[in-house]
Symmetry: C2
DNA sequence: AAACATACATAAGAAACTGATGTATATAAT
DNA sequence: ATTATATACATCAGTTTCTTATGTATGTTT
């Protein structure tokens, strides 16, 4: 995650959420999507991404499917049934954490406002 | 930090921000303040807090002052000049990271809205 | 020929945490 | 009286997650 060593565990949530929206993605594609969505501000490094993908697969959240495209190997990941459940869990965990963070850092903050 | 394994890197920001608002706080007080502000949802563990305080002190962000209160020792921390500068830096870093996170996880999200 | 982009992967080391343990005092509950 | 809880500090082994570097391989651009 380049400059940002900020919220531990959010990489898993990012992966799961992107796969919820896309059905099927490969590693490199994920790094590019994140870079694009954040105007280059968050760069997921390979050293962080691949181990995270392997871990999620080992935990039964993702399945893989290898495809050959232009003499290049692509490993596509998709959500399993468990993975689909995990997305909501991880998302509400993260949203609740961010809410609590706002309550600590900005006492004026109320949910639903800026 | 109890249930949250999400807080990595944000603990320093929390400490600095609370000290910006309070001039002077001791460790235990910080844990209680955070617990109170988040309705018990975030609990800062001693194993995380004290090393973080020591590190910030070693980096010149905080100074300490020991006080005796009711036969109990309290170690009060306050921001140094460097510490005061660091608060703004860490805060905008975190806010920008949270913004990017929202852009990844909720494509509908726009800053200034819910 | 060199640099950059695509695409996977591993591995050493750093950093931030968890959970346990330890010391010490004060108060509330059984 | 004794136990549990609260206050208040601290350290430490172990885990997880990250960074940075390295490696393999192909395709395209300079």
């Amino acid at each position: 995650m380049s400059n940002n060593n900020l919220i531990k565990g959010s990489l898993q949530t990012i992966i799961l959420k992107l796969l919820e929206e896309n059905e099927k993605m490969y590693g490199y594609e994920i790094t590019q999507r994140v870079k694009e969505l954040t105007a280059g501000e968050i760069k997921i490094t390979e050293g962080a991404l691949y181990p995270a993908l392997h871990k999620l697969e080992a935990e039964g959240m993702l399945t893989t499917e290898i495809q050959q495209v232009d003499n290049r190997v692509r490993k596509y990941y998709s959500l399993t049934k468990s993975g689909k459940k995990e997305v909501s869990a991880k998302m509400s965990e993260l949203q609740s954490f961010v809410g609590n963070l706002q309550r600590i850092l900005d006492p004026e903050w109320k949910p639903g406002l800026a």
